[in-house]
């Protein structure tokens, strides 16, 4: 840089804060490619992001109940697939997410609409057939909506009610996207 202390070019900042979600994104990519190991989740690190995510969905399981069988009341099961893309706001404290998702799941439980919910770890293995063998690649599967970060299974009388429930999911107000899919009974 110029030596003159009055030179306006000396005001240039050498560092600028990167987007807060970038670190997680880079780490996820490196993990999915096998360049970093998956971080072990210790019970003592419940405040960590992954543990918080587990808590977030576990809270939903506590207030709901795990029951994947076809509903006996004639209602249909729907999957809410939660995606996180660039727009997802990761600056909010994890506790806030936990509280919001817990309250949301509790309300669904009260209405008998909650079935199940789980987070998904960053990174994935993509399997495909190659001749007589199966190839498994460690890489991300991303869509225009981002990477799938978790899912909920709910029950609703029809598509309109399922859509109405999905609209209330706190995932949306934080910039996440939700794909609503009907679960076909088997």
């Amino acid at each position: 840089m110029p030596d003159d202390p009055n030179d306006p070019l000396r005001a240039l900042e050498r560092e600028l804060p990167p987007p807060p979600h970038l670190k997680r994104r880079v780490t996820a990519t490196l993990t999915s490619r096998g360049l970093l190991r998956r971080a072990a989740v210790s019970p003592l690190r419940a405040a960590g992001a992954l543990a918080a995510a587990v808590l977030l969905f576990a809270a939903g399981l506590v207030v709901g109940r795990r029951d994947g069988s076809p509903p006996a009341d004639g209602r249909t099961s729907y999957a809410l697939l939660l995606y996180e893309g660039r727009e997802f706001d990761r600056q909010i404290p994890e506790q806030t997410y936990v509280a919001e998702y817990t309250a949301w799941a509790a309300e669904l439980r009260r209405r008998g609409a909650f079935v199940e919910g789980h987070p998904l770890d960053a990174g994935s293995r993509v399997l495909s057939a190659s001749g007589d063998s199966v190839v498994a690649e460690s890489r991300d599967v991303a869509s225009d909506a981002g990477t799938m970060a978790g899912f909920f299974i709910i029950r609703a009388a029809d598509d309109a009610e399922a859509l109405a429930i999905a609209r209330t999911c706190p995932h949306l107000k934080h910039g996440g996207r939700i794909a609503l899919r009907t679960v076909i009974p088997t």
Binding site: L16, P17, P18, P19, L30
Partner: protein, 183 residues
Amino acid sequence: MTTDDERELVRRVTARGDTRAFSALYDRHTPALYALALRLTGGDEREAEEIAHDAWVRAVEKLDTFEWRAALRTWLSGIVIRRWRELARAGARSAGPPIEDLPLPSDDAALQGTADRVDLERAIAALADGYRQVFLLHDVTGYTHEEIAELLDIDPGTSKSQLARARAHLRRALDPTGERHRA
């Protein structure tokens, strides 16, 4: 963080994919790498994020080949600028005219017209790509003219002259009357 500390972190990442070691490296270098990417792209935050992301992925892929003949940040910065140039060549954005064809400062009407209100970041963003590359690599990242010449495939003398012109553009944009610089 000392160089020895950094070597140990790199060893842990390459030897066993240590996520914590990578986290420490990321925290130390990313603000500078992102600043470089953001300025190379003229302030395009999305493109800068893509460049920083891709640069880190590529860096970790090749980290076991890094020989410490330069500072780690210098090596990482080189990856950032190569990625930016790849995107430019791929048509994601204009790479600008060849460095040798850039106009002299007196021909840059766009900068002159905004000189009385532009701040430093805007002035950098307004530079032609060739000027911006040399200015950022030399004055911000700390590359030598010889290193810049190798990285950009130009002569060291071209790097020196373009740096002088880039600085002249910026000073004039920031201080059009020259009063502050004469004080």
